[in-house]
Amino acid sequence: MRAGLLLLLLASPAVAAPPPGASSCSGCHGAPGGAVPSLSGHSAEDIAASLAAFRTGARPATVMNRIAKGFSEEESRAIAVWLAGGGP
């Protein structure tokens, strides 16, 4: 039964419920190669650390500092884990 279910799951499109705020990120962050950095290939730890640094202002930014302030550390971590897992 497990193997059968695994096949069924793999045949389904990859979708996981995004935590609050996470689905907005792909409004700007897309494939690598553009002016806006891509989020693909980054670990959850990296993304969470970046969000924390944007939130405190430790990392300079144009707009991410303004956006990161809208999320708690816990929310940021959940977003980071979701994005690192492949996002949408």
Binding site: L5, L9, S12, V15, G21, S24, G27, C28, V36, T62
Partner: protein, 418 residues
């Protein structure tokens, strides 16, 4: 399959770096999405990806994007850069019905289409955009818009205004009329003013632009006005409400624009009229007396008719502006909520982001951002977050924001239509 078993399986898949299962598991039902813009096309894509049967109703074969269309008007960008089709959405498996929705029976849960057929739904998402009100400004109707373009829905109107500007005599006068709130793209009229001023300064330096505004405050105001003082002091004349800026009537035959205090003769007049949600919203009974659609801030479900959700410019989304970015973000959140509701799960309170870039000149970008959450029944600003670009930023930051604007457009249009 027990819950524990499913969780174990999910953990195993995640550890193996394998794709995660469709969340729609348990979500069954037919979803109809009306409107193939930044909101509707996004929602349809998310719903389809989750394994739900979804039909996107959109009469146009080509979608003309509004963001960056001000650059087309100023001759900085080809119109072709605004055109998107639905081939990729179809190819991904979304059913696109190329017709328009004419009526909705909320009790029977049925949409009537222009071709006479009907679509039954369990959940309906309306993302119909705006209608220009041709009953709100004396003298300004659909025929007047052929002489005095609004260019507030991209397409033929955008090209008309671009042609008029190009054909305008040296030393001509351009008048831009800006409506009161709410309307599509709050900073859009001021970006348009900036880029028309740039066009005049570089191509017709003796010409003038008069901006007549029905209000005194607007989005990114300090940033725009700082740039205007620096870049366009001899070109752009901004007249706010308090100085008599509200346009009270237009005469497309005489090419005049009237306020309570004066009548201006224009060589080119761009009149952005007041707006409301597109007609299907009223037909479905989801628009209130304001002409816009009140919604629940968690699910975007209409406050007036159950099982109909409204996203994008047509919705009353509290502090969220009517923007392409917002519509795209709402499309994703609304689709996730619909998946939950169809699976009889309670949707989690969302957070949404908006970022809007404006160009005040080529290579000179400014932005406003916000983070929003449901609070006391409306989408409210998350306090302490958001805001505009700094007033004292160096040129390098303005250049970077202009590059980000361009890249945002590339990314979002690829995500929605690509």
């Amino acid at each position: 399959m027990t819950g524990i078993g499913r969780r174990t399986m999910l953990a195993g898949l995640a550890a193996a770096g394998l794709p995660r299962p469709a969340l729609a598991q348990g979500a069954r039902g037919r979803v109809v999405v009306v409107g193939g813009g930044f909101g509707g096309a996004t929602a349809a894509r998310v719903l389809h990806r989750a394994g739900l049967a979804v039909t996107l109703v959109e009469p146009a074969e080509t979608y003309w994007a509004c963001p960056f269309s001000n650059e087309v008007i100023a001759g900085l960008r080809p119109m072709a850069a605004q055109a998107f089709g639905y081939e990729a959405l179809r190819a991904s498996g979304v059913t696109v019905a190329r017709t328009s929705a004419e009526a909705v029976d909320g009790a029977e849960r049925r949409v009537r289409l222009a071709d006479g057929s009907t679509l039954d739904y369990d959940r309906l998402i309306l993302s119909p955009g705006i209608a220009l009100r041709f009953d709100a400004l004396p003298g300004y109707d659909a025929a007047a818009a052929e002489a005095m373009p609004h260019a507030w829905k991209a397409g033929a109107q955008t090209e008309l205004l671009a042609r008029q500007l190009a054909a305008m005599p040296e030393g001509g006068t351009v008048v831009l009329s800006v409506p009161g709130n709410p309307y599509r793209c709050p900073p859009g009229p001021y970006e348009r003013a900036s880029l028309i001023a740039y066009y005049l300064k570089t191509r017709k330096p003796r010409a003038k632009l008069i901006v007549l505004d029905a209000k005194d405050t607007f989005s990114k105001q300090k940033l725009f006005q700082q740039a205007w003082t620096t870049l366009y002091p001899d070109v752009l004349d901004y007249v706010p409400l308090a100085a008599g800026g509200q346009v009270t009537a237009v005469d497309p035959g005489a090419m005049t624009v009237a306020t309570d205090f004066s009548t201006v003769k224009a060589d080119v007049a761009c009149i952005i009229p007041p707006q409301r949600a597109a007609p299907i919203a009223a037909a479905a009974g989801v628009a209130d007396r304001s002409g816009w659609c009140p919604i629940d801030p968690v699910t975007f479900e209409s406050r007036l008719v159950p099982r109909i959700h409204v996203i994008g410019d047509a919705a009353i989304a509290g502090a969220m502006p009517k923007s392409a970015f917002a519509a795209n973000a709402q499309g994703k959140v609304c689709a996730d909520a619909v998946i939950d509701l169809l699976a009889e799960r309670a949707p989690v309170a969302p957070k949404l982001v908006n970022t809007c870039y404006s160009l005040v000149a080529p290579g000179y970008g400014i932005s406003v951002a916000g983070v929003y959450h449901p609070d006391k029944g409306v989408l409210a600003d998350v306090e302490g977050a958001g805001g505009t670009s700094p007033l004292d930023a160096p040129d390098a930051v303005r250049r970077q924001e202009a590059a980000y604007a361009e890249d945002w457009y590339r990314t979002i249009t690829r995500a929605v239509f690509g």
